[in-house]
């Protein structure tokens, strides 16, 4: 039976053209926590105790410190590239905090906060960023393209939006195998313009995949502001069109993020269906260290959002709860700064991956033709050892 037919027939019948406008659909926005740390009257809190709250806050602090230090390291020329998530940390840390460790996280590239919450270690972040031989990704991708199968964090791929239909498929597999698992799929409002967004959401809806689509609407895709990205009512309005349960939240409100994702997880598992959450936030930093936002937006605009700092908001809440104090806070940030600096010094001295890693993992085994190319390369490097100093000394 085609159940869609019923939906069409439920519509009001009109006899003159009667247009509807997406903007006329009022999309509520969930806010729980105010900037001063007080909770809105009548707000329903997520499931969170002091232990979880402290862990979340420490992760946020780690995120902030790592980002600040790595941008500095990049400016000093110690690192080729970096991307911060300044101002958006609550979306990823809060998301991971609301999930179970077995849930898959598929990020776009600005989701290191989720990986931090899962327990990816400082030195693991460093090893990836410095492309050294201890990097799980074997030095193959630019900085911040993290991944860990142990922590159920899918390795980041630079092409935008490709993870969206993949998340639908991954979650569908989880459902078929009867697992108590969902997939969360992060992407930006810019990536939501890619064709893969449509493909992924529609397939997830049609096939009932327990996936949480989490849009970080941070206002910018590199230099392109969201008003040049779409004309509809954000990304949330599209969820309605796909027949997906839709929720818009304040992305700088960690409690709203946790609440929304906790609810979405329960719903996705119980109903075997996707959810889309649109978190309204702002990319306070540059797109990457290769970008300079002063060319396309004003300081005033940035200042408005600096006043909405999600980390400070959570700190204010913790202080109000009496779960945290200023001394602890100073000690935390100070300790983190030292740890990060020390970790940079260690990671940058670790050797690059062996030359062999150039040809492994292209396939399950190295096929004959690539083996031959590798042997020729080894002979060539031995002939010109000075021209390839990083690898030549380590060749047998």
């Amino acid at each position: 039976m085609n159940t869609n037919t019923n939906s069409y027939e439920k519509g009001q019948v009109v006899h003159t053209p009667t247009f509807i406008d997406g903007h006329s659909v009022d999309i509520p926005i969930l806010k729980i926590l105010q900037q001063d740390g007080s909770v809105y009257d009548g707000a329903q809190l997520p499931k969170i105790d002091q232990t979880l709250a402290t862990k979340v806050y420490k992760t946020l602090a780690f995120h902030r410190v790592l980002d600040e230090r790595m941008v500095a390291a990049q400016r000093q020329g110690r690192l080729s590239f970096y991307m911060t998530a300044l101002g958006e940390e609550a979306t990823t840390v809060g998301g991971a905090a609301a999930l179970e460790p077995q849930d898959m996280i598929m990020g776009q590239y600005r989701e290191q906060g989720a990986l931090m919450f899962r327990g990816f270690k400082l030195e693991q972040f460093m090893n990836q960023m410095f492309s050294n031989e201890k990097d799980l990704g074997k030095g193959r991708q630019m900085p911040i393209h993290y991944g860990s199968s142990e922590l159920n964090y899918m390795t980041i791929s630079s092409p935008l939006g490709t993870q969206i239909p993949q998340a639908a498929g991954y979650a569908y597999g989880q459902k078929l195998q009867g697992k108590d698992e969902v997939t969360i799929c992060y992407f930006g409002e810019g990536a939501a313009s890619e064709g893969d967004f449509h493909a992924g959401l529609n397939m997830a809806a049609v096939h009932g995949a327990p996936v949480i689509f989490f849009c970080r609407n941070n206002g910018y895709a590199i230099s392109t502001p969201s008003d040049e990205q779409y004309k509809g009512n954000g990304i949330a309005s599209r969820g309605v069109g796909y027949g997906i349960k839709t929720l818009r939240i304040d992305g700088n409100d960690i409690l709203a993020v946790i609440k929304a994702v906790q609810w979405a997880r329960e719903y996705a598992l119980a109903e075997k269906a996707p959810v889309i959450i649109e978190a309204m936030s702002y990319r306070l930093g540059a797109h990457s260290t290769s970008d300079d936002p002063s060319g396309y937006r004003t300081r005033e605009e940035e200042a408005k959002w600096q006043a909405n700092d999600p980390i400070l908001r959570m700190k204010n809440w913790l202080l109000a709860q009496d779960w945290w104090n200023e001394e602890q806070d100073s000690a935390l940030f100070e300790g983190l700064r030292e740890e990060v600096l020390a970790a940079v010094k260690v990671a940058e001295k670790i050797a690059k991956p062996e030359l062999r890693e150039l040809v492994t993992d292209v396939y399950d085994d190295v096929p004959e033709h690539i083996e031959k190319q590798y042997q020729e390369l080894v002979e060539h490097i031995k002939q010109y050892p000075d021209a390839y100093p990083v690898t030549s000394g380590r060749l047998k």
Binding site: S80, F81, S131, N132, K138, G139, R140, Q141, M142, H145, S157, S158, P159, L160, G161, G190, A191, S193, E194, G195, D196, A221, I222, S223, T224, E228, Q229, Y230, S290, D291, G295, Y296, K352, P353, L355, E357, L358, V359, V362, H369, I370, Q373, Y374, L377, H380, I381, Q383, Y384, A387, Y388, V390, T391
Partner: protein
């Protein structure tokens, strides 16, 4: 003449094209106000307005589909794909639409006014997804033209030719050279021919053939060879589709030897096509096997980029092998 880097030469060509024809449009991700992430379209929105130079939503398939529509309508779209690594969502629009629009309609409709600009190639520590050279995927697509300039002078003349060509052209820009390559460029309008190779240096012992950023490598290897007493003829193919077999074959007939080099992986790369055609044309002239010095058959690496690339030392070794065969 003015000193320009490759980006400025491209910007200058776009400026000329937009000034001469009101139906010429430049668009792509961050192309408008910001002038593109590499600033190739810098100042164009200011000069020609938001309706002719603009940001698009972040959708490559949308950009090229939109451009196909504009070209079919009679406008002259110059679409930018931010990195060639990100051209693949638009592959269907390019391969099945741009390339076949004219043929399938019996020329009732065509998108000949379309130009697709995209930065390609390695050497910027870009790893897998900011380094690829996907030209060969497009050279197997009849209906397209594929052009790759090697320096600012070539870039301006070839881009103007591409924009005015009445066929869809994919124009690959060597991003490693965007600011690194600086040279004399006439400020006035000029075109360089699509489909014609350019003999960069004449020589008698061996022909070195490449395109784009790889030309620097070939010239460097030729200089090393010269010190070893080997005379290299260095040829820039410039246009891969169509490509100038005549110039290449004449050179090989003279030198008897050929090395082809590209950044892309060797298997299925365009060097294979050239080698097959040249051996047929020049079978009796060849003194040694045609060699290909290319990327390995792996994705483009990050940590081992230096080892991976087809550098001047690998080309130089191939030159020695070839002359000593």
């Amino acid at each position: 003449m003015a000193q320009m880097n490759l980006l400025q030469a491209i910007n200058n060509a776009l400026d000329i094209a937009m000034a001469e024809d009101d139906s010429t449009l430049c668009f792509g991700e961050d192309v408008g106000f910001f002038g593109g992430v590499f600033r190739a379209t810098s100042g164009l929105q200011e000069k020609y307005g938001k309706t002719r130079c603009f940001n698009t939503p972040l959708t490559e398939q949308g950009i090229i589909g939109f451009a196909n529509g504009l070209a079919a309508q009679g406008s002259r779209p110059i679409a930018e794909i931010q990195f060639a690594d990100y051209i693949f969502p638009a592959f269907d629009q390019i391969v099945n639409e741009s390339a076949k629009f004219r043929y399938r309609s019996g020329n009732e409709f065509n998108v000949g006014k379309l130009t697709i600009r995209t930065p390609y190639g390695g050497g910027i520590a870009g790893g897998l997804y900011h380094s690829q050279s996907p030209e060969a995927y497009f050279t197997q697509t009849p209906g397209l033209k594929v052009v790759v300039p090697r320096n600012p002078y070539q870039a301006k003349g070839l881009l103007l030719a591409a924009i005015r060509d009445d066929n869809p052209v994919v124009f690959f820009e060597p991003k490693r050279l965007y600011r690194a390559s600086i040279g004399e460029v006439p400020e006035e309008d000029y075109q360089l021919p699509i489909g014609k190779a350019d003999i960069v240096q004449t020589g008698s012992d061996i022909t070195l053939l490449a395109w784009g950023a790889q030309m620097e490598i070939m010239e460097k290897a030729a200089a090393m060879a010269s010190e070893a007493g080997i005379s290299c003829e260095v040829v820039d193919l410039r246009s891969l589709l169509p490509w100038d077999l005549e110039t290449v074959a004449n050179s090989v007939a003279k030198t008897g030897r050929l090395i082809i080099s590209h950044e892309a992986p060797i298997t299925g790369g365009f060097a294979g096509e050239i080698a097959a055609s040249v051996q047929k044309e020049c079978f009796l002239n060849l003194e040694s096997p045609i060699e290909r010095i290319c990327g390995l058959d792996t994705p483009y690496p990050l940590a081992q980029e230096k080892e991976y690339v087809a550098d001047h030392l690998k080309v130089f070794e191939a030159i020695k092998r070839s002359v000593n065969f």
